[in-house]
Amino acid sequence: MRIAEHPILEFKRENPHTFAFEGVEVEAFEGESLAAALWAKGVRGLRRVSWGVLGPFCMIGYCSGCLVEVDGRRTRACLEPSRPGLRVGRIGDYVPRLAAEQPGKAEELEVDVMVVGSGPAGLSAAIVSGESGLDVHVFERHFRPGGQLVKQTHKFFGSGELFGGLRGFQIAERLVSRAREVGVRIHTRAPVLGYFKEGFFAVSEGERLLLVKPRAVVVSTGAVERLLPFPGNYLPGVMGAGAAQTLMNEYGVKPGERAVVVGAGNVGLIVSYQLLQAGVRVLAVVEVMPEIGGWLVHAAKIRRLGVPILTRHTVVRAEGGEQLERVVVAAVDERMEPVPGTEKVFDADLLLLSVGLTPESRLLAQMGARMVWSPELGGYVPYRSEYMETSIPGVYVAGDASGIEEATTAILTGRVAGYSAAVRLLGPRRDLLEKREEALRLLREARRTPFSARVVRGLERVIVRVAQ
């Protein structure tokens, strides 16, 4: 179902058209993903296997829950923009087809700065290196740039320079247009496949392979949501909190009617409020810890609207056939084990997991950057200098790929990485060094909140100080 009225968002629904899913007509609008249009139509389970039906989990092109066949190609429905007349179906037994056409010749592309990912970190890095006069190319897997900012609907704190007072999706629009203004080339639907020791990155763009040879690289690939193992965790209707944000905030599609949210950190609390704004009933928020992890103002906001927050509770199983029908939660003991006899059952068709994020740092690991496990930063992250350079000279990291934080710090680490790339290629110009110091100063300031204490502790173990 599509959201008809929303208190703060207006959905442009332009150029209505249809595509076929398993022979049935599905209505869609320009700029919608196939996955969003299918969800709006009520199609939940996209993948059928011998023992059941699986649903999409991430909606940002990483999980396999929305794999479909589009005009004979296998693809993720969430990464595929809807176009009139597409023929979409569930994937069957895969029979590789003989390619009707030869792929285009691989093309070599030499660039000054290659930025991987077009979220707040990547675009900020691209903008500052572009402003310095460098030839900058951003590679984005999705069909629209902006990363996960496009689904952030809350107003940001901070000064005008850090887009204070704007909503996330508005910040994304500003960053994208500023990047284009300074000559940055943004390649969409262009996933980076890996680094090859011959010195190039393979990128798939359209029907050909690009071999990119950059003089400096910024890896700003973001993060993926964490999943929990419990019976029924694959049922259509169980998804990441971010996946629901994509559906309701980006596409104006109602993710469900009755929801249970797991995790009372800021993401869980904010997404619960956004569900209410989208007209979804929130039956409960469950949190395994004894205390609410997020800001209390967010918790108070949803409590006032009648949403119970159950601390020391966890999800024990999901039930349903073709899709989620019930969620069972239970109290936990001090070893975090469910206590028998304390189960509560909710008739829910949506179960959102907001149990943390993992840095998406796989490209750096594949390139051979030195990595380290940091619980404070969410998983494996690269060692880096305070100027965001990894153990590979000329390769920088920024944003959540360097450790889980939030959009403002992503913008700032992006700027630091972008200036560092510029310093490497243009020499230690005073203006660049000064601007980089200013970004570092703003970064230290942004990390003064109580929620940053843990991050700052984590950073102490992963930042390698280098003599300049």
Binding site: W51, C63, Q102, Y234, Q366
Partner: protein, 92 residues
């Protein structure tokens, strides 16, 4: 109603029971579990299953997560039609 499967790996349909069985068979590290169960070898390339498996193993084996070395990351990082590579290296 019997409880549904508890999946560790969505791409390859690997359950927590599969992991438990592999542990009993003596597979203890992520690299061998990957080879035994195909965890991390599907379209998500380990983005969901490996973090979940790290937490699960850490709890089951009583080993801190940093001691569980993640499997090696190899290209391609994303599913891609093999034919895209046909045009490479045949210029000469």
């Amino acid at each position: 109603m019997a409880p549904l499967r508890s999946l560790v790996c969505f791409c390859e349909g690997v359950t927590t029971e599969d992991v438990d069985r592999a542990l009993e068979e003596g597979f203890r590290d992520l690299e061998s579990l990957k080879r035994r169960l195909r965890v991390g070898m599907g379209p998500c390339q380990g983005r969901y299953c490996i973090p979940m498996l790290i937490s699960y193993l850490s709890r089951r084996l009583g080993v801190p997560p940093e001691r569980l070395a993640p499997p090696r990351v190899r290209p391609p990082l994303e599913p891609v039609p093999a034919r895209l590579f046909l045009g490479v290296g045949d210029e000469g």
